[in-house]
Each structure stands twice: as structure tokens, then as C-alpha cells.
């Protein structure tokens, strides 16, 4: 960081690449949605760039970076809550003008899909990737293996474990 403050681009590039997984891990505490997390990671890096003159080399780097990430995490959560309060997702908005009772059933289906999406986010990343590739996108094992970077054997095990974990999560939710 000290080298970056002096204008060393190679050191800065290395620093940003090294801190990104740390920042991402910190932000997972605030949010489970991968797209939102990535947005918060980018905002943290932008803020780091804007306030890099405030880093004091006599003090540890991690709390300085952690404070920036935590702030951007809180901002991201607030933004999400604001959006959730005032905006309706496109899928639900489509039904707003229909009096057809069947539309309500469809809305329930959309909500259930949303619930499943949330439960999927709670699975470990490798299990989630395996389940999404093999069961949801209906890829062949060879294709899923190429996309997810897991061996065919690992894919089978992770898919099985993901289904088992998902079943347990459903039971917890419905209690």
C-alpha cells in the first residue's frame, strides 16, 4: 500500500488483486446475493482508491480496509432495502393488473422460485455450482465438469449432498 501511495502501479495492481478475495469474504457477512456482493466489492475498491491518502503506514492495513468494506457493505444493504421497498420485480409486476385467479397461483410459483433461490444461496459454493449445472441447467456430467471445474465424481457427490442439504433446509423453513 505504501508503494501504491508513491505511485507504483505494479504494486497497486498486485495489492488490489490480493485484497479482492478478502473483501469479498468480508462482504458475504452482509449479503448472500453474488451480484450484490460483486457490486459492493467494486465500490470498496473504488473507495480504497479515493481514500488511499488516509492510510497511515504505522497502523495495520487490514482494519483500514475492513472499515471501508464494512461501510460499503452497509451502504449496499441500505440500497437493497430501499429497492425492495419501492420496486416490484418484473415477474410480479406483470400480474398486477390481472383479476384472473390463476394469476395468483402463478405468483405463488414465482414466490416459491424466489424462496428456492434464497435457499440455494445458503449452500456451500461447490455444492451450489454442481446442483445448478446438473439439475437446474440440465447439463451432461462432462459439460458440467468442464464449466464448474469439478471432476465428474466430485460433481455426483456434490449434487447428492446439495439435494440432501436443500431438503433439510426446506424442512427447517416449513417448520
Amino acid at each position: 500500500m505504501v508503494a501504491a501511495q508513491a505511485g507504483d502501479r505494479a504494486a497497486y495492481s498486485q495489492l488490489l488483486r490480493e485484497v479482492t478475495p478478502f473483501v469479498r469474504a468480508l462482504l458475504r457477512r452482509h449479503c448472500s446475493h453474488p451480484q450484490d456482493i460483486e457490486e459492493m466489492v467494486q465500490e470498496t475498491l473504488l473507495t480504497l482508491h479515493r481514500v488511499r491518502q488516509t492510510y497511515d503506514s504505522k497502523r495495520p492495513f487490514s482494519p483500514w480496509l475492513g472499515a471501508i468494506a464494512a461501510r460499503r457493505g452497509i451502504d449496499g444493504l441500505r440500497r437493497r432495502l430501499r429497492v425492495a421497498r419501492y420496486e416490484v420485480s418484473a415477474e410480479l409486476a406483470g400480474y398486477e393488473t390481472f383479476a384472473d385467479p390463476a394469476a395468483n397461483i402463478d405468483i405463488e410459483a414465482v414466490r416459491a422460485a424466489g424462496d428456492i433461490e434464497e435457499l440455494l444461496q445458503r449452500l456451500p459454493p461447490r455444492q451450489r455450482a454442481a446442483l445448478e449445472a446438473v439439475k437446474l441447467k440440465e447439463m451432461s456430467l462432462a459439460e458440467a465438469s468442464r464449466v464448474s471445474g469439478q471432476s465428474v465424481g466430485a460433481l455426483k457427490v456434490n449434487t447428492h449432498r446439495a439435494l440432501k442439504a436443500l431438503r433439510a433446509l426446506f424442512q427447517d423453513v416449513s417448520k
Binding site: 501511495q5 497497486y12 479482492t20 488516509t54 497511515d56
Partner: protein, 222 residues
């Protein structure tokens, strides 16, 4: 935009920066500059023969010291909070002297039997006091925010709150040298209203004043 692309853009835009000095040092610098200017103005324009005997009264001396301590602690808190890795608890630092100031002023009102009418009528000089605190706070706030915005605070609200409380308390401290009579309830209410107004305006305009919007960072990467 992908994170990897963002890293490349930020790296390409990197320029050397001058590292900020420690917050306590910067707070001390601001306080010393303000003390020098205020001291000169007080020596030149204040009715010192009327003021100095009053400062020998313990209650008034406590009120004066508490006002100065509120200003000093609020300014220190603002500089500390402007840096990312400092505890948010710095915001509470000015609270004890502020409460002491209120208590000492309140005691002055009680001593006057909570009279609403001072020696110069219902409002007396209170509107002048209100105008003094708000108007004197403006140049003080300009100088303070100019120094604070160099840190581009990641959470502008506590910085603006502590900073504006600091400038309003500084103005109220200087006012005591031009205020050779006890405060009435109306006086105290208007002093507090002036401080409240300064804090309200400072916090409302905190983002442009402190250069604290993340949007400014986005422009650079667009």
C-alpha cells in the same frame, strides 16, 4: 463492468498521493489557527474590562471552559472520524463537555429565576447572539471542511455532525467575550437553536462539502 476490469482501470489511473498527517495533528493545526485569529479579534474588539471580572465567577468560568472543551473535543472527533479505521465512538467525545456547558448555562438561567426577560427586554440581545453564532460559524466551517474533505470521509454524517458542533461551539466560546451579562432562558434557547441550525445545515450538505460521494469515484472510472 467486471472487477478485473475495474482493477485495471484503477491501476492505470494511479497517481502518487501525499499521505495525510495524523488526525490529531491536523486538528491541532486547525485549532491553533482559529485560536490565533479569535484571540486577535477578542483582544481588539471585546469589552475586556466588563468581561474579565465575570470570568472570575466560578459558574461563568466553568461555562466558558466547558464551551471551549466542547469545541476542542468536537474538532478532534471530526478529524479522527474522517479516517476510515478510527472508532465511531469518537463521536461521543464532545458529549461530556457539551452537557457540562448546558448545565452551567442552565444554572445561570435558574439563578435568574428562569426569568424570560433580561435587562434589555424579552429578546434583549438574543437575536444578535443567534446571528453571531450562525455567521461566525460560516468561515470557521469553510476552513474546517476544506481540511476535512482531503480525507474524503467514507461516512460523512458523524464527521459533519462533530465538525459543525465544533465550529458552533467555537463561535459560542468567542461570543462569551462579547456577552457581558447572564444568559436568560430565551438567550440559552436561541444559542442552542443557532448551534442546531449550524449542525443541521452542515449535515444536510455533508456530501458535497466533504467530497464524500462515491459517485465522484465512478466518474473517474467511467
Amino acid at each position: 463492468m467486471q472487477t478485473e476490469q475495474l482493477i485495471e482501470r484503477l491501476t492505470a489511473q494511479l497517481e502518487p498521493v501525499r499521505v495525510l498527517r495524523a488526525p490529531a495533528w491536523r486538528a491541532l493545526l486547525w485549532l491553533m489557527m482559529v485560536a490565533a485569529v479569535s484571540g486577535a479579534l477578542i483582544m481588539r474588539f471585546a469589552p475586556l474590562p466588563a468581561i474579565l471580572p465575570r470570568l472570575a465567577v466560578p459558574r461563568i468560568a466553568v461555562e466558558c471552559v466547558a464551551t471551549a472543551l466542547t469545541a476542542v473535543t468536537a474538532i478532534i472527533a471530526a478529524f479522527q472520524l474522517s479516517v476510515p479505521d478510527r472508532s465511531p465512538r469518537w463521536l461521543w467525545l464532545p458529549l461530556p463537555p457539551f452537557l457540562l456547558w448546558l448545565a452551567a448555562s442552565g444554572l445561570g438561567c435558574l439563578r435568574n429565576g428562569l426569568s424570560l426577560r433580561g435587562p434589555n427586554g424579552f429578546f434583549g440581545d438574543s437575536p444578535h447572539c443567534f446571528a453571531f453564532i450562525t455567521c461566525a460559524s460560516v468561515p470557521l466551517a469553510v476552513g474546517l471542511f476544506w481540511m476535512l474533505r482531503r480525507a474524503r470521509p467514507i461516512n460523512a454524517l458523524p464527521v459533519a455532525t462533530a465538525g459543525t458542533l465544533g465550529v458552533a461551539a467555537t463561535a459560542a466560546f468567542v461570543l462569551q467575550f462579547f456577552h457581558p451579562f447572564d444568559v436568560t432562558v430565551i438567550d440559552l434557547a436561541l444559542h442552542l437553536s443557532a448551534i442546531g441550525l449550524v449542525v443541521l445545515l452542515g449535515t444536510a450538505w455533508r456530501r458535497p462539502l466533504l467530497d464524500a460521494s462515491i459517485e465522484a469515484g465512478r466518474v473517474g472510472t467511467a
